[in-house]
Amino acid sequence: MNIRYLAFLFLLLNMTYLLTGCWDRVEVNNLAIITAAALDKKDDKTIELSIQIFVPETSGKEKQNVATMGNENTQSPTLVESAEGVNFADAMLKLQGKISRKIFWGQNEVFIFGEQLAKKGILNELNGILRAVQPRERANLFISKGQAKEILKLNPVIDRNSAESIHKLVHAHTGLEESIIDTLQMMNGESKAVALPWIEILTPQDGRSSNVRMPYIHGTAVLKTDKLLGKLNAEATKGVLMIKNQAASGTITVKPKPEKGYLSAEFVKDKIKLIPQITKNHLSMKLQVQTEAIVTQNSTHLDVMNSHDLAKIEKELAKGITLQIRKALDQGQKKWKADIFGLADTFYRKYPREWKKYKKNWDSLYPNLKIDIQTKFRILRPGMTTENPKI
């Protein structure tokens, strides 16, 4: 009796998903695994969605090709396919119609917006990406120079596909790292501006294999609300990285005044504190930078092991850091007038009540905001040698 009852219950439970056909089982063989996606402006009304699909079949053959034909003619292990649509969702649907396998967004960690589309605004498409179930909201967002689709078509030699190259570049922290969810938070936050990594195509210098081009992150795209304004160069990007506390590693090179040579130091620890201040209706900002570094090259006559010289070196390096940050701030404040550093949010967090007053005027306040940079630089180690090699 009891066993029968249990068996019946078991059958009933099984039916709930077997009979309704709600069996979500998908084999990997039936998946088109997307490694990267790109969105471009097609014309005024439509966009073009391109995806880079991993092709498992060719990878096996590729091995043989490499063995027999050499490096020159390797087949791409990825396939780039694109479809037009009025928006992301529409294009996605059309794209599925073109591909035999089920498009799988779960592994996609790279979304690239083309320059033209970014100028028009990216928020509408982000909406579609965020709403869809599969795409990751932690996927990284990029703006590309020219057509984003071109980046997907690249076939870097050292990595499996261009998506992997981009992903690795992000982790090298040479550029910003912004996920979809971060970007939306910045856009919805008080600053209404966002900085995204800027991707360009790198052509190898040897010229021999001009078809082997690689994507690389070179600078920062500045977006106000959701529209692309312009671009910061690589030098200013360093400062942006520091202000956003994303500079995991980096090197600073300075030329101490009376000396002839240069001195470089690599950061070990780099921390920045944004301290907003409102005094007598006056908004100001204090940036406290704390950097610890290792000396990596020293062609000056200053001795790192000498405490007198060391103080001087540290002072010079701190000056260098301050200068670097100032450059980035100037670009954001003066040139593009976009609060890509999220300064408005720090004010809002510290002075939630007072902020309401300044919120409306932030656009006019921001470019003239007085920002004080205090840098503390500390040399931790002199590197592997203490003395300069002499001839």
Binding site: Y17, L18, N29, L31, F54, G60, G106
Partner: protein, 519 residues
């Protein structure tokens, strides 16, 4: 109810024959007794009735079963003095006085006599005597004491139980030289009359536990007990459970360690496997080897086993679930590699996993049953089927081969066969759940197993003690293997009444270091 009635009446019916015999006293005439026993043992050609005359005065008969009796000693120690001596006044005491045999018993009832004969004791019946004499001159053929192949250790005693209960008892007695080690014997099996020994240490084992064990054993009434497996199935708490609730071992040292913690051990004549009750799940994941190594090593190996339990139970199903439902959870580069290797595979992941797992289980079972010479052949075939050929034929992807191989290795890590087979079987329903519901199914399966484990008891002790219910003091033998000097108390679940095992503060210290180095 009908079945119960039948059972009761059948008990009665068989009782009748025994009862007649039991009530029957020996009579004073030898001829009568002899013929009665002869009718009982009619058709048993191995039972020998040896007629002779004692002291030249009185007729007697020696009854024994050939092959169970030490004939040489019987001739030397019984027949020789009885036949040679003459002229002495006759009585039963003088007879037993001249026989140089230590184990002599006087018997009154026919049933006792039958039992003694069946157990291999020669019986001496005398004319004009209402008593028979049982002579302890049994000689049973038996296997030598060997290392149990299923529970071998690197460092530890190499002795294992044998099929003879008396030898097994002596193995235990040799390790516990205390009169507190008690042995209770009962005989079960209508035809087999198998002797069962129940061992415990008085003062450590709880009286209620011993009583419960005896009650369950007394309830057994059947034709024959062919092994401890029969007993296990007849006395365990939840016969419908996949999980073993009684520990079986062939190692006397393991049994002794349990006896010292207040457990009760049941040994059965004709079987080298001892049963230990009560037991918890964690006992199945411990090996006597843990205590031969240093405690850190023992603890690490114990954790390795816990991990292997998770692997045996969940690895194939997790692989199936991830591959069919949660592709986004696999690291990108790993998924791409898997996708590449799976490209040519015609089967869904669930079927692939089932195919491989069943093949592996079949090979393993075949290897266990086959003679050793064929075993190597099986392993070669197995290596081909599971490894190279399956992938080369495009039936199975190589990651799946890895998964099956890791699962297989993990299952070899479990020190007790019964728990291993339980987990190996449970793996399959979880694989189905994973194939149908993904990770959700796996979680459902785990929940069901945990609920079941929580409901299990072994002779009154919850199966998951000391985790559920939590007994902090006993965690020292579950989360890690505590050092010998730190195990001051016995386990709470089995020896509440006598908890102190040793005096504290026995951690070795180099107190006399100076003295040691003085010369």
């Amino acid at each position: 109810m009908g079945f119960l009635k039948n059972w009761l009446s059948s008990k009665k019916r068989t009782k009748q024959l025994n009862e007649i015999a039991a009530q029957q006293n020996l009579t004073a005439t030898l001829e009568e007794n002899r013929s009665f026993l002869a009718t009982i043992f009619k058709g048993c050609s191995d039972v020998v009735f040896h007629d002779f005359t004692i002291f030249g005065q009185i007729s007697a008969v020696l009854i024994y079963i050939e092959g169970l009796v030490d004939k040489e000693k019987l001739d030397q120690n019984v027949l020789t003095p009885l036949l040679n001596k003459t002229g002495e006044p006759f009585s039963i005491n003088t007879v037993s006085g001249v026989i140089p045999v230590s184990n002599i018993k006087e018997l009154n009832y026919i049933e006792e006599i039958i039992d003694e004969i069946s157990n291999g004791h020669p019986i001496l019946l005398l004319d004009h005597q209402k008593k028979g004499i049982s002579l302890g001159l049994t000689q049973l053929e038996h296997r030598a004491i060997e290392e149990p192949p299923a529970e071998s250790v690197i460092r530890g005693p190499r002795e294992g139980f044998t099929e003879l209960l008396t030898i097994n008892t002596s193995l235990l007695r040799r390790r516990i030289k205390s009169p507190q080690l008690k042995v209770k014997n009962i005989v079960v099996g209508r035809y087999t009359r198998t002797k069962i020994g129940v061992y415990y240490i008085e003062g450590i084992a709880e009286k209620s536990l011993i009583k419960e064990v005896m009650r369950r054993l007394d309830k057994i009434y059947m034709d024959g007990i062919l092994g401890s497996g029969y007993i296990e199935e007849l006395i365990e708490d939840q016969s419908n459970s996949l999980f073993p609730q009684i520990l079986s071992t062939e190692r006397p040292d393991v049994v002794v360690s349990y006896l010292l913690e207040g457990h009760v051990t049941i040994l059965c004549d004709g079987n080298p496997v001892a049963l230990v009750v009560p037991i918890t799940l964690f006992s199945f994941l411990q090996s006597s080897e843990d205590y031969a190594q240093k405690f850190m090593i023992g603890s690490l190996i114990r954790w390795l086993r816990y991990i292997s339990v998770a692997i045996v139970l969940l690895l194939p199903s997790t692989y199936v679930a991830l591959l069919t439902y949660h592709q986004e959870m696999i690291p990108t580069s790993l998924l791409l590699t898997i996708a590449k290797s799976r490209e040519q595979i015609p089967f869904p992941a669930l079927f692939e996993a089932l195919l491989m797992e069943i093949t592996f289980e079949a090979l393993r079972e075949a290897g266990v049953r086959l003679p050793q010479q064929l075993g190597t052949a099986i392993s070669i075939v197995g290596a081909l089927v599971i490894g190279q050929a399956a992938t080369a034929a495009g039936l199975v992807s190589s990651p799946m081969v890895m998964v099956v191989a890791i699962t297989g290795v993990a299952s070899f890590l479990l020190p007790h066969y019964p728990i291993g087979i339980t987990l190996r079987i449970l793996r399959f329903p979880i694989m189905f759940l994973a194939g149908m519901l993904g990770l959700l199914g796996i979680i459902l399966g785990i929940i069901a197993i945990v609920i079941h484990l929580c409901s299990l008891r072994s002779f009154g002790v919850p199966y998951l003690t000391p985790i559920v219910p939590m007994v902090k003091q006993d965690l020292k033998d579950v989360l890690y293997r505590s050092p010998i000097w730190a195990r001051n108390k016995r386990p709470h679940s089995t020896s509440k009444q006598n908890p102190i095992r040793q005096s504290p503060g026995q951690k070795p210290e180099a107190e006399n270091e100076e003295e040691l180095h003085s010369d």
